[in-house]
Symmetry: C2
Subunit: 398 residues, 2 copies
Amino acid sequence: MSEMNALAGITVLDLGQIYNGPYATFLMAMAGARVIKVESLTGETLRGRGATSSAAYPFAMLNQAKESITLNLKTDKGLQLFKQLVAKADIVLENFGPDTMTNLGLSAETLMAINPRLIYAAGSGYGRSGEHRDYLAMDITVQAMTGVMSTTGVDELPPMKAGPAISDFFGGIHLYSAVVTALLAREHSGKGAVLDMAMQDAVLPTLATVIGAYYYHDRNVPGRHGNRHPALTMAPYNVYPTRDGHVAIICVREGHWHALVKAIGQPELIDNEKFQTMHKRAESMQEVDAIVTAWTSVRDKLDVLDILQAAGVPTAAVRNVEELLNDSHLHERGMLRDVQHPLLGNIALPNSPINVAFGQVHEPALAPELGAQNLEVYGGLLGLSPEECAKLGEEGVI
Amino acid sequence: MSEMNALAGITVLDLGQIYNGPYATFLMAMAGARVIKVESLTGETLRGRGATSSAAYPFAMLNQAKESITLNLKTDKGLQLFKQLVAKADIVLENFGPDTMTNLGLSAETLMAINPRLIYAAGSGYGRSGEHRDYLAMDITVQAMTGVMSTTGVDELPPMKAGPAISDFFGGIHLYSAVVTALLAREHSGKGAVLDMAMQDAVLPTLATVIGAYYYHDRNVPGRHGNRHPALTMAPYNVYPTRDGHVAIICVREGHWHALVKAIGQPELIDNEKFQTMHKRAESMQEVDAIVTAWTSVRDKLDVLDILQAAGVPTAAVRNVEELLNDSHLHERGMLRDVQHPLLGNIALPNSPINVAFGQVHEPALAPELGAQNLEVYGGLLGLSPEECAKLGEEGVI
């Protein structure tokens, strides 16, 4: 990571748990920050689910390149040690409930009094202001509240969540963004900041098409149209069956449509009145989809992909997680790398998308064992002796 | 926006189109940058779909606080003017296909030779490296390729896209992140950077749970479990019917489960062997869901929300886009504001989630008319006279 040192010299106290906070600090660690994961004596929630649970992989993924210390914030000595660390840190990041830190005596105000250059970054479901601030939130509940579910799936079934943890990750990447924005501001102001990033706020803009459809159709709430365009104003725009799976095809320009009908051997459709504008194709959506389906359904998905991409039609194979993890493009690009993991065996771990954007591949340390850097951090950063650390361990402080 | 000036003094040449690029530059504009939207003579793609199309709202949303100039990059004079602007800019951002700018004679290398401090930020579906670099991509195709669809919906139906444009927006927010990271690096190095952000890379980490389920279940590809946990290792974790809609409920800790069964008047379940650990509840998922459903299905969703949140159970109402836009919490928090829009009437427009995180509400200018700032930019930044601008207009250059 020789050149990706944008955050070199930055020290982060990472109280993040599960996905939201830890994704933000993962990106910081990968950008060169020193990220010290501050865990309870039993470990952060995700780690706490057990080394052989289905949470083990996400933990391994999101805590690469971090250090781990244990700290019992329910003891006076623990609080004292945390404050001493804050004096040496640039960033404190947490995604507890909105009052957890204040109730511990570690409010943003208290910590910034110790260190006025501190950036205190809080992630939560709904934010620290507004009437819903105290609502408990997880990814699935934020998907419900933001309207994501109302627009996913089909009308015949209940509202459907998006499979991936999009609320957590939209929260996490916006939290990273806010922190780096605050670091940039600090370069000039010399001052820290308190950041209050809500998952709900971060997800809301992604509803743009659906909100557009709502206003466009005289404020009628759009239905759940499966894989079709939320406003039903575009065709082809769907997922189509193939012999061995599915493909996604979308024609956003006239040129795409022309390329498609040529590729499927029906160039005469270009001159067919019924399909001559996007508006007309959208009105004949069933027929358009039937034409495409007739051609895709007798072919293999990778053949459809090859033929239509070569013809200039935006097309994709619908891939499962195994196909994703084995994608040679992602490995070649450095977004995935194979790792021999002590617990999980041979797994593929992702790089930071931001590192990849900088063209930088490196092999970060695997997620640390609980408390692996206790001596290094309490010794190196706070000057405690190994004996003092051992005593703190015996007292249940670290 | 008095204090949210992290990007004050930064000038962005925004060639972004549709959602991906424009969301990144929207966040920059809202953080105080001067964002000059450089459009073809017929307008950026999204604008080009027409002022009364369903695209009008997304355009209005993503181009707040920006300036607009027209520029024909297919003329020599247009290219010359662009290069003159690059000399005065900090950032060039585009999300064309990977070779479009190079083919125009405006490669990153060419532009950085003009301005070595330039940050050249490119967004694309699959990135500029790797075997899939030339694949045409849109939100729906990236959802297909990244595995999002394979994990959304139910096994009985085809793979399903997430309703919102998550690939575009994950791409956009990561692009913003990469640019701000590069700006921070430039503070110390004095050098610009070339950034190659792929939507696919940005979406991949959100699959964490699904990848975890894959490795946990001996490398078997998980099915599509609707609203249940992708690894089926958690219950209650689902969407439940109510008299007037649906609610989402999730119990990640023992305490949540205890709070839930007390709130629904069945505290004796706490001592029921069958439900005493998360693992056991997951094994009795059908029964657990039936217990919850029996209670929710005879109540209204907002009552369920109130009762369970008060009891300490992570719960949400499944809301549609109209409920979202009218959410008083979001308005109170400053994430949404009502605007009288010249074309769209009374609409709600979002703030930047990052501004909200900084605690800053302001009322940005509405999205500009095509070329509204031609005189200001070509006059003010490049020193052209109104007559010269008029001549360029006649020549089809601006």
